[in-house]
Structure formats: structure tokens, C-alpha cells
Symmetry: C2
Subunit: 196 residues, 2 copies
């Protein structure tokens, strides 16, 4: 019964309630009545917690494999529906991709190869310059699934890596196109594709 088509929890002043836009279907539209009416505070959705990986991944695959993985992933993305987010110029593409590779190397425990040059990763903030909707995030994630296969990422490390990048990717979304929360793609959703 909300004017937003996204809340059925209107109630009188004094109570406190927070729901999400997707929490309930559209009821009947209620125009102005005799009194001022309060429509609940709302959140869009909850960004799920992120499982940040241990040093195990780096200790097994090393910097070169991580760099190979990131370059392969960006090459796939460049040819995808979100390709316009990447530089057309080859040199700029290499510079940007190397920066991303350095982030992954440092984040995974390979030493300070990113922050001394670029500062805190602040990933969500750095991505504000690019319009990233729910679909762009799915493309990014599915291209990582393909990458992990194609670069023969060690199977025993995929779960730990995926549990990081899957929820992390949701945090880069800065353009909403639906009231539904971003879809989760838990490891259980992809593991059979790796024979796991």
C-alpha cells in the first residue's frame, strides 16, 4: 500500500521499521487521506559479507599465475558486453590490467606491489567512475568462471577464491535497474562445472 510500489509496511508515526524495496509486492495505491501518513524507511539490499581469502592461494599459484589470470579475464571482458569500460588503446589496457593484477597479488599476500603506488584499493570508490549495473557484475563474474577454467586454476583453490570474488563483485554495483537484490552465485552453483 505504498506510493513506491515497493512497500506494504506503512504505519503510523512513532514505530520504527526498515524494509527493502523488494520485500513485498505492489499493493493498491493509496492516495492522500485525512492525515499525513508515514511510509517506512527502507534499504535497497544488504551487500553480503565477503570471505577474504588466506595466503594459501598465493603460496600455491604465485604472482605469475595471478597476473596471467587477470590479463586473461580482462581480455575476455574487453570482448564482452561491458568492453566499453576498458581502454581501447592497447598500452592503456595493459597499464590498467597490470594495476588490477598488482591489486590481486597484494590482496592475496604477495607483498606490497599495489598500495605504495596507488594507495588503499577502496574498490567500490574506484569503480564509481564506471557505470556498473547488476548485469555488468554478472558478466564480470561469469568471465571469471571461464577464466578459472581456461587458465587451469588449481581446483582445490577455486572455492576459496570464488567465495571472495562473488560477494565482492556485488559491492561494485553502482547502477540499479531493478528492485530485486543482486543474484547470488554461490560456489555450490558453479562447482560441478569444475568437476567438483
Amino acid at each position: 500500500m505504498s506510493e513506491f510500489g515497493c512497500g506494504c509496511n506503512n504505519k503510523s508515526i512513532g514505530e520504527q521499521k526498515i524494509s527493502t524495496f523488494a520485500a513485498c509486492g505492489q499493493g493498491k495505491f493509496h492516495p492522500a487521506g485525512d492525515d499525513v501518513r508515514v511510509a517506512d524507511a527502507k534499504i535497497d539490499f544488504v551487500y553480503p559479507e565477503v570471505l577474504f581469502p588466506s595466503k594459501r592461494i598465493y603460496s600455491i599459484v604465485g604472482a605469475n599465475k595471478i597476473r596471467e589470470m587477470v590479463f586473461y579475464h580482462h581480455t575476455l571482458l574487453r570482448a564482452s558486453a561491458v568492453g566499453s569500460l576498458f581502454p581501447k588503446d592497447e598500452e592503456m589496457f595493459k597499464i590498467g590490467t597490470e594495476k588490477t593484477a598488482e591489486f590481486f597479488i597484494e590482496a592475496l599476500g604477495g607483498g606490497e606491489v599495489y598500495t605504495p603506488k596507488h594507495g588503499h584499493p577502496a574498490l567500490r570508490m574506484r569503480h564509481f567512475a564506471f557505470t556498473i549495473d547488476e548485469n555488468a557484475r554478472v558478466i564480470w563474474l561469469m568471465m571469471y568462471k571461464k577464466t578459472l577454467k581456461d587458465v587451469n586454476f588449481p581446483k582445490e583453490l577455486i572455492e576459496e577464491f570464488w567465495n571472495w570474488i562473488e560477494p565482492l563483485s556485488i559491492r561494485m554495483i553502482n547502477r540499479r535497474t531493478t528492485a530485486e537484490p543482486p543474484q547470488r552465485y554461490h560456489f555450490s552453483y558453479i562447482k560441478s562445472e569444475f568437476g567438483l
Copy 2:
């Protein structure tokens, strides 16, 4: 101490905590350690509650004044930095603006002049087609402030109207460009401009 530059609440698995991206400054970046580490679930920000007006406004100003107000507002917006969101074609502009006017008339208690033709307003949903960032919302709101002045909206009704459209406008934001929550412009912020 988060990898997102926007959370200092990482903690061990098992606890439950939700913070916002803007809740704390950037600490030091912490790369992978010996164990998997949990970064908290987060929300972006809370859309504040909306005070939906009573029939008092409609009963005093009537449909013609509301239509005049909406057309004036859209004409200002069309000439503003968000003008590209409105049709260039004059006839399409009039049709779209009349639709908005009908929404306002019905929402304010002037009878079913919108929903029989267009269905539930579902305002956030209908605005997904347009990229609306925090700044576009401020422009929309400030053009309403100017409109209320320029169309001589009855002073005694401005607070009730503003308390609706100000928080409502936040719900149309679908493109984030900062970790900060959208700025509030409470009635107390504008009332002196109306001699109130």
C-alpha cells in the same frame, strides 16, 4: 581495515554486523593472512521515511494549480543539467508532463486520474530507465524549491509538500557516485527562503 576502503568492522566468522560504506574512514589495507577473514555485510544507506501528505494540499490548491506547478517544474528541469532525461519533442514532453501531473493530482487526493490509465505509480521502478544520481536528485529538488516560489504555492502548505518530495526524491536515486548517503534538505533548510 577493509579491502573496500569503506569498512573497519571486519571480524571473525559467527558474529553478525551490518554497517554502511560511509560508516568509517579508510584504514590500512590488510592483505591475505593465515586464515580466511570475514568482511562484514553492509548496506549502502537507509532511504529515509517519507511523510505522505494529507488531502489538505489538494483541497486548497486544486488540480489546475498542481498541473501548473508540475509543468513549470518540468520546464525548469528541461533547461537544466538533467534536461536530457526529458523528451526533446514538444508533444512528447507535454504527454510525459501531463502524466506526472496526473500522478500528483491523484496522490494528493484529487481522484483516480492516474492509476486507471497507468497502473500503480511504482515510482522507483518507473525511474530505473533513467540514470538518476545524487546530483540529479538535488537538481530535481532545488527546481521544486524554485517552482514553489515562482508559482506562488500557498506558504502554509509548503512544509507538508516538501516533507513528502524531499525524502521521496532520494528513492529515485539509482546511480551512486559516492559512499556518502544522499544529503538531506529538510524543510528547516529552505523555509527562510519563503519567509517562513
